[in-house]
C-alpha cells in the first residue's frame, strides 16, 4: 500500500491521508459507541444476575407481613436480624453444619490424594494399555448416575453401610473421571525432563509424585479441592438416599426438612438458605482464580 501512496503526487497524497484519517476517526467512534452499548448491556445484565441474591437477603430480614404485601419492597422497612437466630433455633443447623463439614473434609482429602495419584500414573508413566484405560476413564463420564445408583444402594445395604457416612466418603478415595482428566491435563504440561532428572538422582515415582508433582501442580490441585468441596457441600442426592437418622443429616437435607416444617415462612427459609450458601459464596470470592483455572483446563483441551 505504501508503494501506491508514494507514486501519487503531493496533492493527491494529502487527500488520501485525509481520507484515511477520517476513516480511522469514524472507526474509532463506531468502536466507542459499540463499547458503550456492550457496557450498558453488561451492567443491566449484572444487576439482573445479582438481584436474586439481594432478594434472598432482603426477604430473610423481612417479617411475613411485609413479604406478603403487594407490591413487594426491595429494601426491608424493618431489618429483622433476629430471623437468623430463629432459623438457627428452628432447624438443627449447627448439627447439620458439623456433619457436612465432617463429610466434606474427607471427600476433599480423598479427591485430592486419589485423583492426583491416578492422574500421575496416566500422565507420566508408560505402561501397556494406558491410552485404552484412559479412554475408559473418559467414557465412564457418559454413564447416567442412576444406572449405578440403584445397585450401589443394594450393595451398601448388603454391607450394612446404609445410614453411615461410608457411601458418601469412600468413593472419593478411588478417583473420579472428571478430576483425573483435569489433573492429567495439567500434569502433561510439566516437563518430563524434571522427572527423568529426579529418577537419575534415585527418586522413585512415589517420591516424585509427592515431592515434585504435587507442589508444582498446586493451582490444579486447589481447583480439584474447591470443586470437590462444592460438590460435597451441595450434595443432596447421596445424603437423601443413604442417611435416615435426622441427627446425621447434612445441611442440604436439613434445609429440605426445614422447608417442610416452615412451609411459606419465607423469611426463615431464606435465612436458612443464605447460611447454607454463604460458605460457597465466600469460597468463590476468595479463590475465584481456581474456579476459572479449572474451566480453562477443560476448555483448553477441547478447543
Amino acid at each position: 500500500m505504501s508503494e501506491v501512496v508514494q507514486k501519487r503526487s503531493g496533492t493527491q497524497m494529502s487527500e488520501v491521508v485525509q481520507e484515511k484519517d477520517n476513516y480511522f476517526k469514524s472507526l474509532r467512534f463506531k468502536k466507542k459507541v459499540g463499547q458503550g452499548i456492550i457496557l450498558t448491556i453488561l451492567i443491566l445484565g449484572s444487576l439482573l444476575i445479582l438481584s436474586p441474591i439481594w432478594w434472598m437477603f432482603a426477604t430473610s430480614l423481612k417479617d411475613m407481613k411485609e413479604i406478603m404485601t403487594y407490591p413487594p419492597t426491595f429494601i426491608p422497612k424493618e431489618w429483622h436480624w433476629e430471623n437468623y437466630g430463629i432459623a438457627l433455633e428452628k432447624g438443627s443447623f449447627f448439627r447439620y453444619t458439623w456433619n457436612t463439614l465432617f463429610i466434606t473434609s474427607f471427600v476433599v482429602l480423598g479427591n485430592v490424594l486419589a485423583n492426583s495419584f491416578i492422574a500421575y500414573g496416566f500422565a507420566k508413566i508408560q505402561f501397556k494399555g494406558r491410552n485404552f484405560l484412559f479412554a475408559v476413564v473418559l467414557a465412564t463420564m457418559m454413564i447416567p448416575g442412576f444406572v449405578t445408583l440403584i445397585p450401589q444402594y443394594v450393595l451398601y445395604a448388603k454391607l450394612g453401610w446404609l445410614n453411615t457416612y461410608i457411601p458418601l466418603i469412600l468413593p472419593a478415595f478411588f478417583g473420579s473421571a472428571f478430576f483425573i482428566f483435569l489433573l492429567r491435563q495439567f500434569f502433561l504440561t510439566i516437563p518430563n525432563e524434571l522427572i527423568e532428572a529426579a529418577k537419575i538422582d534415585g527418586a522413585n515415582h512415589l517420591y516424585i509424585w509427592w515431592k515434585i508433582i504435587i507442589p508444582l501442580a498446586k493451582p490444579a490441585i486447589a481447583t480439584v479441592a474447591i470443586f470437590s468441596f462444592n460438590g460435597a457441600w451441595n450434595d443432596f442426592l447421596g445424603p437423601l438416599l443413604f442417611l435416615n437418622d435426622e441427627s446425621m443429616y447434612t445441611l442440604q437435607l436439613g434445609l429440605q426438612v426445614f422447608k417442610g416444617q416452615n412451609d411459606t415462612q419465607w423469611n426463615f427459609l431464606m435465612a436458612g438458605s443464605i447460611m447454607v450458601l454463604l460458605p460457597v459464596i465466600l469460597l468463590f470470592f476468595f479463590f475465584q482464580r481456581y474456579f476459572i483455572e479449572g474451566m480453562n483446563l477443560t476448555a483448553g483441551s477441547k478447543g
Binding site: L39, F146, F174, H205, Q256, V276, K302
Partner: protein, 323 residues
C-alpha cells in the same frame, strides 16, 4: 528365555546384565508395573463402584428384584411393562424431552452470547466475569428454595420485574403449563458456567484472523459467524454433548421444587429420573427401575454416538494435531 520377576531386578542385576536390550525391557516392565500401581485406586473403584454395579443392574433389569425378594428371572417383562402398563413413563419421557430440547439450546446460546460480549475488551471485564459466573457455583436446596420464592406468582421478584415492563407473569410453579419453563428459567440464571468455558476458548482465537477480516471490510456479524463461531465449535460440541447428557438426568430440582418428588401440579414435573427414583426407592420395584435406567442409558448412548457422527459436518478443528 527366563522370565524375570521385575521386582527382584535391582541395580546389581543391571550391572551384571550384559545385554543392554534385555535390561531395557526389564526396566520398562518395572516402570509399567508402577504405572498400574498408580492407577490401581481407579481400577478398584471402577470394578467396585461401577463395573460391578453395572453388571448387577443389567441382570437385575430382567428380574423382579425388590431388595428383600430373591431375584427371579422374568425375561423382558419389565421392558414390556414400560410399553404397555405404565402411562407415567411416557409422560415422564415427554417432560424430560421438553426440558432437554428447550433448555440445552437456550443455555448454550446464552453462554456463547455472554462470552462474546465479555470478550470485547470492555473495561472491568474481570468484575463482570465474576458476577456472571457466581450463580453457576451456587447449587443445591438453598438455590431451589430461593427460586421458589423468586417465582412466587404475586409477591416474587420475577413477576414484579416483569410487571415493570408491563408483562403479567405466569403462575410459574403452580401452573402445569409453566412449571418446566420455571426450571429452565432458573437454569438460565447459571448460564455463566458455560460462559467461562467459551470465554477461555475465545481468548485462544488468534487476533490476526480478525485483523485480516477487518482489512477485507467484514462487518461485526460476518466476523462472528465466519470466524468466532467456527473457531469455538469444538467447545460448543463438548458443551452440547455434556449438557444434553446432564439435562436428561434432571432430578434434584424437580424433587425439591415439587413436594418431595410428587411430580408437581398435574404431574408436569415428573421427569424420567424422578419416576425411576419413585419406582426404585418409594415402591422398591427395583428390577423395573433398573430396566428403566438401562433404557435411559441407551437413549443417551444413541444420542451421543449420533452427535459424534454429526460432528465432522459442523465442528471445525484448527490444525491436524487436535483431531
Amino acid at each position: 528365555m527366563i522370565q524375570m520377576e521385575p521386582k527382584i531386578l535391582g541395580k546389581s542385576d543391571i550391572k551384571r546384565n550384559s545385554k543392554h536390550s534385555k535390561t531395557m525391557v526389564s526396566l520398562q516392565r518395572k516402570e509399567g508395573l508402577q504405572g498400574y500401581l498408580f492407577i490401581a485406586p481407579w481400577i478398584i473403584g471402577f470394578l467396585f463402584f461401577l463395573a460391578g454395579p453395572l453388571l448387577f443392574s443389567l441382570y437385575g433389569s430382567f428380574t423382579n428384584y425388590n431388595i428383600t425378594s430373591s431375584m427371579d428371572f422374568i425375561g423382558l417383562d419389565n421392558f414390556k411393562k414400560m410399553f404397555t402398563n405404565d402411562p407415567i413413563i411416557w409422560l415422564s419421557l415427554r417432560n424430560t424431552l421438553y426440558f432437554v430440547v428447550v433448555s440445552v439450546p437456550l443455555t448454550t446460546a446464552g453462554a456463547v452470547l455472554l462470552a462474546v460480549l465479555l470478550n470485547q475488551g470492555v473495561r472491568g471485564m474481570r468484575v463482570f466475569r465474576t458476577i456472571f459466573y457466581l450463580p453457576a457455583v451456587l447449587s443445591g436446596v438453598g438455590v431451589y428454595l430461593l427460586w421458589m420464592q423468586l417465582l412466587s406468582p404475586s409477591t416474587g421478584l420475577v413477576n414484579t420485574l416483569l410487571g415493570f415492563v408491563g408483562i403479567e407473569g405466569p403462575a410459574w410453579l403452580t401452573d402445569p403449563s409453566w412449571t418446566k419453563n420455571a426450571l429452565i428459567f432458573m437454569k438460565m440464571w447459571s448460564v455463566g458456567g458455560g460462559m467461562l468455558l467459551y470465554l477461555a476458548s475465545l481468548q485462544g482465537v488468534s487476533p490476526s484472523l480478525y485483523e485480516a477480516a477487518e482489512i477485507d471490510g467484514a462487518s461485526t456479524f460476518r466476523k462472528f459467524f465466519h470466524i468466532t463461531l467456527p473457531m469455538i465449535t469444538p467447545v460448543i460440541f463438548f458443551d452440547l454433548v455434556t449438557s444434553t447428557i446432564g439435562a436428561f438426568q434432571i432430578f434434584q430440582e424437580a424433587y425439591v421444587m415439587s413436594e418431595s418428588g410428587d411430580g408437581g401440579p398435574a404431574n408436569s414435573l415428573v421427569f424420567y429420573n424422578l419416576h425411576m427414583w419413585n419406582k426404585a426407592f418409594e415402591v422398591f420395584d427395583m428390577g423395573y427401575a433398573m430396566a428403566m435406567s438401562w433404557v435411559l442409558f441407551i437413549i443417551i448412548l444413541v444420542l451421543t454416538v449420533f452427535n459424534l457422527k454429526l460432528a465432522p459436518r459442523w465442528v471445525h478443528y484448527e490444525g491436524e494435531d487436535q483431531k
